[in-house]
């Protein structure tokens, strides 16, 4: 019996301590009302030469903004762990803006938390927000397919086999759109070019990415690019097999001193700083922010040794065209199964909303989604 009393007393004591801690935490949160604490959740390591690094570089730039505190957590899987991690940033670190940087964080974790914490702003790095989702949630996205298109213009002039290889993670809209734009860029300068795609099924699976890269080279591809979280393995494999490559997400130029052509990179710091400035001035954040070259959300890696004079000139011209708003998707374009996507003469605007829901590959791409 005495044992029970003891444990009850301990319970009371610890809950009292907990309450005190909670109230002091909320007090300190009020005290910091003028300041901005940004919580950033990464799905992988911050220095993966890829997706997470692109965000981390931008987060580092954000730290230099006065009044902004940045808390980060890496290697957070797309499970309930993401919700826990975001909640602890809100409750323990007093975060008032959360950047959820991985695709799978949005449904249901960001949506649930946005409903639970109406005072905290949530922004998620994929074009998923739609009307009807909580107003304190939103999406921000760089249209990397524009940069992949420019990459492919250079790649199309660099291939001799006319076969370009693409190692892709999962067949979701943004990945498929990058693949399609990559083909269109190559076709623009080289009508015989084809793109062969291999899906690995995971965002990060180094051994399988290496196998896929090797398989593409064995199949005759002489320029490789990829859409996986950390392109390090694909780029290094391409370099060691003696073929050229285009990067993805962040700069991989140092990994391929001989064959690197150029790469498609995000420039998240443009968006992050824009959000921080909006919040500092008390402006509401936009629910949907997206853009490409025209608003400086994406960029190309500086040309490497693999880029020829002709490729550089053509790629620069293509980038100028896209920045000026010239369309990437110009008909005639058929889907892989032969159904027409665009008739001759028709075109999609580069921010055509239906492209966000791309669920097809176009003719000229070898490989299947399922």
């Amino acid at each position: 019996m005495s044992k029970f009393e003891l444990s009850r007393r301990t319970l009371l004591q610890s809950s009292a301590a907990g309450l005190a801690l909670l109230s002091s935490a909320s007090l300190s949160r009020l005290a910091q009302a003028g300041n901005l604490t940004v919580g950033i959740v990464y799905v992988g390591p911050r220095d993966d030469f890829g997706w997470n690094q692109a965000h981390a570089v931008a987060a580092a730039a954000l730290k230099d903004v006065p009044g902004v505190t940045v808390v980060e957590e890496e290697n957070v899987p797309e499970t309930i762990a993401a919700a826990k991690s975001m909640e602890s940033m809100i409750n323990l670190d007093g975060a008032n803006l959360i950047f959820a940087t991985s695709f799978g964080y949005y449904k249901p974790f960001v949506l649930d938390l946005a409903a639970k914490y109406p005072d905290v702003e949530f922004r998620h790095a994929a074009p998923l927000w739609t009307e009807g989702d909580p107003k304190n949630a939103g999406s921000y996205f760089g249209y990397l397919d524009q940069a992949h298109y420019v990459d492919a213009v250079a790649a199309g002039l660099s291939t001799t086999s006319n076969k370009l290889g693409f190692v892709a993670a999962k067949p979701i809209g943004t990945v498929l759109r990058n693949i399609n734009s990559f083909l269109l860029g190559a076709r623009k300068v080289n009508p015989d070019a084809t793109v062969q795609v291999i899906f690995t099924g995971e965002w990060s699976m180094p051994v399988r990415e290496a196998e896929a890269a090797n398989a593409l080279v064995d199949a005759g591809c002489d320029v490789l690019t990829c859409h996986v979280d950390g392109p390090k393995v694909v780029i290094e494999t391409a370099e060691s097999r003696g073929v050229k490559c285009c990067g993805h997400n962040a700069s991989q130029a140092p990994l391929a001193p001989k064959g690197f052509i150029t790469g498609a990179e995000y420039k998240w710091e443009t968006i992050y700083k824009m959000f921080a400035a909006d919040l500092a001035e008390g402006e509401p954040l936009p629910n949907f922010t997206g853009g490409g070259f025209d608003v400086d959300f994406v960029r190309n890696t500086p040309y490497g040794a693999g880029a020829t004079e002709a490729a550089i000139a053509a790629a620069d011209a293509a980038r100028a065209d896209v920045t000026a708003g010239k369309p990437i998707f110009v008909g005639p374009i058929n889907k892989q199964d032969g159904t027409p996507l665009l008739a001759a003469g028709a075109s999609f605007d580069n921010y055509e909303p239906s492209l966000d829901q791309t669920d097809y590959l176009i003719e000229g791409v070898t490989g299947s989604i399922t």
Partner: protein, 307 residues
């Protein structure tokens, strides 16, 4: 290259993949085989593998010598083995539970120390070209063979011979089959198991260094996709026979190459299924090779799963 270039491409890719991907399986399964022969199960080899990958890469980066990295990876592995061996010696300690703890510990420690080594490029292990006779680039590429693979074959043959024909082999097998009998013979059971687990950890560490220093050849936190765990299943499949361990490792390597190879020749429907081939294979093997009515042929009698 034959009438059907597609089929040839797949077969060649599976052959090349078997050689490229099998080495970590081979080393880890040989290490696990040796540990189990002495009567213990070390499930922690997955953690040892990851830590070996990290330490090998780090040492190679700092010293410029990948072979030194391989050695240090092995030594780190044997330290993990020693810890496992020591803990399991204590009374009423379950080796499987310790193994799982060691797996998480090794992985976590590797991530902790490995942070600064994700970015830099370390010198990698060289390969030996056996394909110069062929003018087919894919064949030449397939026959770029890493010395560790050859070392693994030599090790498998050596272990097979040594377990069968040497006094030490007999001691290990006796310890694994019946601890009381070993005690009666004056064998120090715990010491034999400690040393076997350390040797097993050494091999697993080398297997890890192959991942980071040769194929795919860089240190990242997602480097191992369960190779260490699959190798444990592979030992059961191989009936605790080192030579079979080699064939099983080749089979798993080839299965891993199947998905990408099929996609490269245009058979891309159902790639999730083909990508899962190694795991499906593990499952099928476990189902096919176990029965509630008999214990496994060749299984050491002291193993806690067969006892």
């Amino acid at each position: 290259m034959g009438d059907d270039p597609g089929l040839m491409t797949v077969l060649l890719a599976m052959f090349a993949g078997a050689i490229r991907v099998s080495t970590p399986f081979l080393f880890v399964s040989l290490g696990e085989m040796l540990t189990e022969k002495s009567g213990r199960i070390n499930l922690g080899l997955e953690g040892t593998l990851v830590f070996g990958a990290m330490s090998g890469y780090a040492i190679s980066y700092h010293t410029g010598s990948p072979w030194l990295g391989v050695l240090v990876a092995g030594l780190c592995g044997s330290l993990f083995g020693a810890l496992h061996g020591y803990l399991c010696k204590l009374p009423k300690v379950n080796d499987i539970a310790i193994g799982i703890a060691m797996m998480l510990f090794g992985t976590g420690l590797a991530f902790f120390f490995g942070k600064p080594y994700i970015q830099p490029s370390a010198p990698r292990l060289p390969s030996i070209s056996f394909g110069t006779w062929s003018d087919h680039p894919a064949v030449r590429q397939a026959l770029e063979i890493n010395p560790l693979f050859l070392l693994g074959i030599a090790l498998a043959i050596f272990l097979w011979w040594a377990l069968k024909n040497t006094r030490y082999g007999l001691i290990i097998r006796t310890t694994g089959d019946s601890a009381p009998a070993a005690l009666a013979l004056g064998i120090h059971v715990d010491r034999v198991r400690l040393l076997s687990t350390m040797a097993g950890g050494f091999f697993a560490g080398i297997g890890g260094s192959f991942l980071s220093l040769y194929y795919p050849g860089s240190w990242t936190e997602g480097l191992s996709s369960g190779q260490g765990l699959m190798a444990v299943a592979l030992v059961i499949f191989a009936r605790w026979n080192p030579i079979y361990c080699f064939w099983a490792a080749l089979l798993f390597g080839a299965a891993g190459a199947l998905g990408p190879a099929l996609q490269s020749i245009g058979i891309s429907r159902g790639y999730h299924f083909f990508n899962a081939a190694p795991y499906i294979l593990t499952l099928l093997i476990m189902i096919a090779s176990t029965s509630p009515r008999r214990s496994l042929k060749g299984a050491p009698g002291e193993l806690s799963i067969t006892k």
